[in-house]
């Protein structure tokens, strides 16, 4: 019943010439004009931080929580329009672009609808949950020619660029191992907290395309990150960004097969269901990863030491490079010359919108795939067995349960 992707995944990026880098950056070439009028879907903590960044251009905010909506509107000031339904915001003709900072389970649906409505899109990391959602985002961005970026600072940081350059230059030598790490997931979630949702929160819309679950403060704001179906724990919250960095350093293998195995400890208390500790391995066969000399990426939670909450280590025969995330900064160990300025994902996206660099590109593809690969690790842990995914055909090698767990069929009107 489900469509197997019989066309190559390159179809979405195959629009010839239109997407060649640099075409839109030529002198005299302008896209949307200087001012980018933004709409903001999701103005919780992270959404408001992004809203601060583009406050002058913000014309509308949307949230299903009245308190968040009021705070977001107060941040922008008089004249901002407020919406409870993001589809009404997308209907506004004066809005050029939207920033999506809702929980993960909403990202794909809202991004696709935004592209269909002719809006450029900035999606907070992780971009999506499963491969189906990744393909939908890529397809929509390509079809409708929209600028779609994922807000991951790590892969675009100067530190990551330094890593990619060293690897391309062969300074590390043949790669032996690439490993990433993130913080352990907490335990928690008190089922006694199940109750009617506050009158200020539209819980049905908050749950949206996810499976129905009763309202509980330990499932909503902030705590959804520790739910398997929504946040996927730090394997996806932190891992997606790190995986993207690792994949880009390895030449972004989007062909061949990947086998994921994972072990971890289940929570011993509460209803949060992401593993508290996790060790996972993605092994790529075929594609660019093998050519780069390392076809395996390792993941662990918690990390190897206390120096950082998240990071990446590339071990080559000649040299080893370590990237650490400290707060909002990414640093390369041993590089203290101060040249590693932090990336500004929102600024890059706005520049791309103004320059009209439309369509799905390799960066978006890697970001979306990395998020889905992170979910695959969670699924492998849950199943207790390795899972193999074919990046070309979208098949799971006959593992029906893995395939079904990696589907996100939606709920009610909230379906892709």
């Amino acid at each position: 019943m489900h469509k197997q992707n019989t066309l190559t995944r390159r179809t979405f990026l195959a629009a010839p010439l239109l997407l060649a880098p640099g075409v839109f950056a030529q002198p005299g070439r302008r896209g949307a004009g200087d001012r980018v009028v933004t709409g903001h879907i999701g103005v919780g903590a992270r959404g408001r931080a992004l809203l601060e960044r583009v406050r002058h251009g913000a014309a509308a905010v949307c949230d299903v929580d009245e308190d968040h909506l009021a705070e977001g509107a107060a941040l922008v000031g008089a004249g901002v329009r407020v919406y409870r339904d993001y589809r009404e915001l997308l209907e506004q003709p004066d809005i050029d672009a939207v920033i999506i900072a809702t929980p993960d389970h909403w990202h794909a649906l809202q991004a696709v609808h935004a592209c269909e409505a002719g809006k450029d899109v900035y999606i907070e990391t992780p971009a999506c949950r499963v491969f189906e959602e990744a393909e939908a985002i890529l397809r929509a961005a390509a079809w409708y020619g929209r600028v779609a970026h994922v807000g991951a600072s790590g892969p675009r940081s100067a530190a990551a660029a330094f890593l990619r350059k060293r690897m391309r230059d062969g300074a590390l030598g043949p790669l032996r191992r690439v490993s990433c790490w993130g913080a352990a997931n907490p335990e928690g979630g008190d089922p006694a907290g199940n109750r009617r949702a506050p009158a200020t929160l539209d819980w049905d819309r908050w749950i949206g395309p996810s499976r129905w679950m009763p309202y509980n403060p330990d499932r909503s704001h902030g705590n959804w990150r520790w739910l398997f179906d929504i946040g996927g724990g730090n394997a996806r919250q932190q891992g997606a960004e790190l995986l993207q960095t690792a994949l880009e350093a390895l030449g972004a293998p989007h062909t061949g097969k990947v086998t994921v195995s994972a072990q971890g400890a289940a929570p011993s208390a509460g209803f949060w269901d992401c593993p508290t500790t996790l060790e996972a391995t993605w092994s790529f066969s075929g594609g660019a990863a093998e050519q780069a000399g390392a076809s395996t990426i390792h993941w662990r939670q918690p990390g190897p030491d206390d120096a950082s909450t998240a990071g990446l280590l590339s071990e080559g025969e000649i040299e080893t490079l370590r990237l650490d995330r400290c707060g909002d900064q990414w640093r390369v160990e041993g590089q203290d010359d101060g040249a590693h300025e932090d990336a500004d994902p929102v600024g890059r996206w706005l520049d791309a919108v103004r320059a009209g660099r439309r369509g799905a590109d390799a960066e978006l593809e890697t970001a979306c795939r990395a998020a889905a690969l992170a979910t695959l690790a969670n699924v492998a842990w849950r199943l207790g067995r390795p899972v193999t995914y074919d990046l070309d055909t979208g098949g799971y090698g006959g593992d029906t349960q893995a395939e079904r767990l990696m589907r996100a069929p939606g709920r009610g009107p909230y379906r892709l």
Partner: protein, 752 residues
């Protein structure tokens, strides 16, 4: 027998019957007799655990069930997944019977939101309908269990047995989960069930079925969906149109658009045509896709849809793309895409067509043709560009200059910025401002000033005027002051104008007048950036800016304690020692006098003493690293008191690096991991300030890098709570906010 007693007896009887049936199933069923004991035990235990609702028991039972489900799904599974599926289906039936037996006169919506854990829904007063409330809670618990069970069944059930899920499609509590389960299972059988459900499912679920048929790509559903799309049911009709488009069937193939159709639905119709065309294109059905897109381009569609259609034609390599695109060169919002697709058009004769059209077309089209030829690297482009530098129309001259990397003639820019076509106006204005900035950098301040003022006074969008004001701020020319004071009253650009004024005053000689102006601005301006700039300028002149910072709502005077190791158990003990209750859910009694922490704290044999710290700058940040030195994996506490004349709602604006926990008056109000950085407040926490003293206790952990925090208080509308107005230094606790005379009666007897 009273009605109530009768109900209790019936309930008890039903539960006993359920357990007996379950036990019978376990003992007597052939599958159970043949399968390993653990399967039946697990299923039976799961059923009992759900009825019990004890959290740990439910979690453990659920985990064991999951282990069985996932083991059954392994390719080399020892047990037959069908056996487990049967057991789960039987349990589902049992729970369904149990749910039906619960007599609750409530609508489904109330049931869905009824508490799972047994708390009373507010609709039902415990005093009025106690039994009904308990029934509602029980029913909600059973329904959620049924939904969970449906999810697990979808992981085990064979594709060919999907029809077994059909009866649950009509269940209002289980319908949506069943549709999702069928979508998850996939296969022909599930597809047939969903198609059949179009006839039988209740109205709200029918829409979900329609949508699922589309998203799952079930082409066998096209006839049924077409019938619905041609029907009278409004929402179902348009859902079917959307679903058909995903299957590659456009709205035009189903029904012609009625001219009386409302614009929003007409746009939906057009979108369905476009979507279908793009699906056909991806499927390789090029001719159909091309025909559909060409027809679509002629419709009165929205601009972004026309762009998508042109891109679609380009992707298909259509020979008609340039012909269509040329028709949209003059359409704002489509022009850029039209130019792109012509550039990418590989069909022969494109450049000949453009060269022929160039002399006889309007200036905007000429500018577009120049751009296309340049980007295509046509050998005829250089000659045309050279000619175009002397063209009679400014738009063509400017385009030719830009395409050759030359600076346009300045005299051409201003008229285009004011009165040019929409796509050239922004460019011309941008170029004009760039020139002004270059003049400013080259020291030609008078000319630059005039140019910035011209933009400021022109009919341009606020962002352009803000950029001009930024330019004037950089010049910091006192001659522009009258202009800036006028624009400081315009709400669109007031902040930029005020910042520019601050810049002018900051470079003025350091005298009383300048200080007075900066002080006045810092106190009265509502713009944070301008206030911050004024405070910074005052601090540079050696002024005491602490009162101003407090006036902005920042808590400046803290006491910090530490450093402690970042160990959960040790920190929990410290939290208790400091007199604050960490758990959110713990009941915290309202205290007339807030709990001051002890002056010294003992921890693992060492004595720790509070240290006074002043949070400086804007935002006012407590730099813990400066106090204790660099640490990793450490923790520190901060304490401050704020007085309030009367109870009010407030908002904490928080900067922090790294994870933080905040207590206000002994109650934990916020806890968050990670780091947001110390540059600007990025988190907000709603709190209530009580009459009198309010204690703030903060625990900040250190991962690596910077270590600190800052708290600013505003009201719900964002206006700062003037902490300076609350402060008066005479209470003996140096550095801690105290009260003015007006607050003394409120705080009498509360001396710290």
């Amino acid at each position: 027998m009273s009605r109530r007693l009768k109900r209790c007896v019936l309930k008890g009887a039903r539960q006993t019957c359920f357990l007996a049936v379950l036990l019978a199933l376990v003992v007597l069923s052939p599958a159970a007799q043949e399968a390993a004991p653990s399967l039946d035990d697990c299923v039976a235990e799961f059923g009992r655990a759900l009825l019990d609702a004890e959290p740990a028991r439910v979690r453990d039972a659920r985990r064991e069930m999951e282990a069985l489900v996932f083991a059954a799904g392994a390719r080399d599974a020892a047990s037959d997944p069908g056996t487990l599926c049967d057991a789960l289906m039987r349990l589902l039936e049992s729970l369904t019977d149990e749910a039906r037996a619960v007599d609750v006169p409530l609508e489904d919506e109330a049931l869905r939101s009824a508490p799972y854990g047994g708390k009373m829904p507010p609709l039902l007063s415990i005093f009025a309908f106690p039994e009904a409330a308990r029934q509602a809670a029980a029913r909600a618990r059973i329904d959620q269990a049924r939904r969970d069970l449906m999810f697990w069944i979808s992981l085990v059930i064979d594709e060919g047995r999907a029809a077994a899920l059909a009866p649950h499609l009509n269940d209002s509590a289980l319908g949506e989960e069943t549709i999702s389960a069928l979508a998850r299972v996939g296969g022909e059988s599930a597809g047939r069930v969903l198609i059949e459900a179009l006839k039988t499912a209740p109205a709200p679920l029918r829409l979900s079925v329609i949508r699922t048929l589309g998203t799952c790509g079930i082409r066998d559903a096209v006839p049924a969906l077409t019938t619905i799309a041609r029907g009278e049911d409004g929402e179902a009709r348009w859902c079917a149109v959307d679903a058909l488009s995903v299957l590659g069937v456009p709205g035009t193939a189903v029904f012609p658009l009625d001219p009386r159709t409302p614009p929003s639905l007409a746009a939906r119709y057009a979108a369905s045509c476009l979507r279908a065309a793009l699906v056909l294109g991806d499927r390789g059905e090029r001719r159909d896709a091309e025909r559909l897109i060409e027809r679509f381009v002629d419709l009165n569609a929205r601009r972004h849809q026309i762009c998508a259609a042109l891109l679609g034609l380009s992707r298909l390599g259509s020979t008609a793309v340039t012909r269509h695109a040329l028709g949209f060169i003059g359409t704002p919002g489509v022009r850029a895409t039209a130019i792109d697709v012509i550039v990418a058009d590989c069909a022969p004769g494109v450049e000949d067509t453009l060269i022929k059209a160039y002399p006889v077309t309007d200036p905007s089209m000429q500018a577009a043709i120049l751009e296309v030829l340049t980007r295509r690297q046509s050998p005829r482009a250089p000659g045309l560009l050279q000619q175009a530098l002397n063209a009679s129309h400014a738009e063509v001259r400017v385009a030719a200059a830009r395409l050759q990397g030359l600076d346009p003639v300045e005299a051409d820019l201003w008229p285009l910025a004011e009165r040019g076509a929409p796509w050239i106006r922004h460019d011309a204005l941008r170029l004009f401002l760039e020139l002004a900035w270059r003049r400013a950098a080259a020291g030609q301040k008078d000319v630059a000033r005039e140019q910035f003022i011209a933009v400021l006074q022109g009919r341009f969008p606020p962002e352009a005027r803000r950029e001009a004001l930024n330019g004037l701020e950089r010049l910091a020319d006192a001659a522009t002051r009258p202009v800036l004071e006028r624009w400081a009253r315009d709400p669109d650009v007031a902040e930029a104008a005020t910042c520019a004024l601050v810049a002018i005053i900051s470079v003025a000689p350091d005298d009383e007048e300048a200080r007075g102006e900066l002080l006045e601005l810092a106190r009265t301006t509502p713009h944070e950036a301008a206030a911050s700039a004024a405070v910074t300028a005052l601090a540079a002149r050696g002024a005491d800016v602490a009162p101003l910072v407090r006036q902005q709502g920042y808590i400046t005077d803290w006491r910090v304690l530490g450093p402690f190791p970042n160990d959960a158990a040790a920190l929990a003990a410290l939290d208790a020692a400091l007199g604050h209750a960490p758990p959110r859910t713990a009941a915290v009694p309202r205290v007339a006098r807030p709990a001051d922490p002890p002056a010294t704290v003992s921890h693992e044999g060492a004595e720790f003493v509070w240290r006074d710290v002043h949070a400086a700058g804007l935002p006012a940040v407590v730099d813990i690293e400066a106090v204790f030195g660099p640490y990793t994996q450490a923790a520190a506490y901060g304490f401050a008191k704020v007085a309030q004349a009367q109870r009010c709602s407030a908002v904490i604006h928080l900067v922090r690096d790294d994870p933080i926990t905040i207590w206000v008056n002994g109650k934990q109000v916020y806890e968050s991991g990670g780091s947001r950085g110390l540059d600007a407040p990025q988190e907000r926490v709603h709190i209530t300030l009580e009459t009198g003293w309010n204690c703030f206790l903060v625990r900040v952990l250190q991962d690596a890098g910077p270590w600190g925090y800052g708290i600013r208080l505003t009201d719900r509308q964002g206006a700062p709570i003037d902490l300076e107005a609350q402060a008066m230094p005479d209470d003996g606790m140096a550095g801690i906010g105290v009260t003015r005379d007006a607050l003394r009666p409120v705080l009498s007897g509360d001396a710290p």
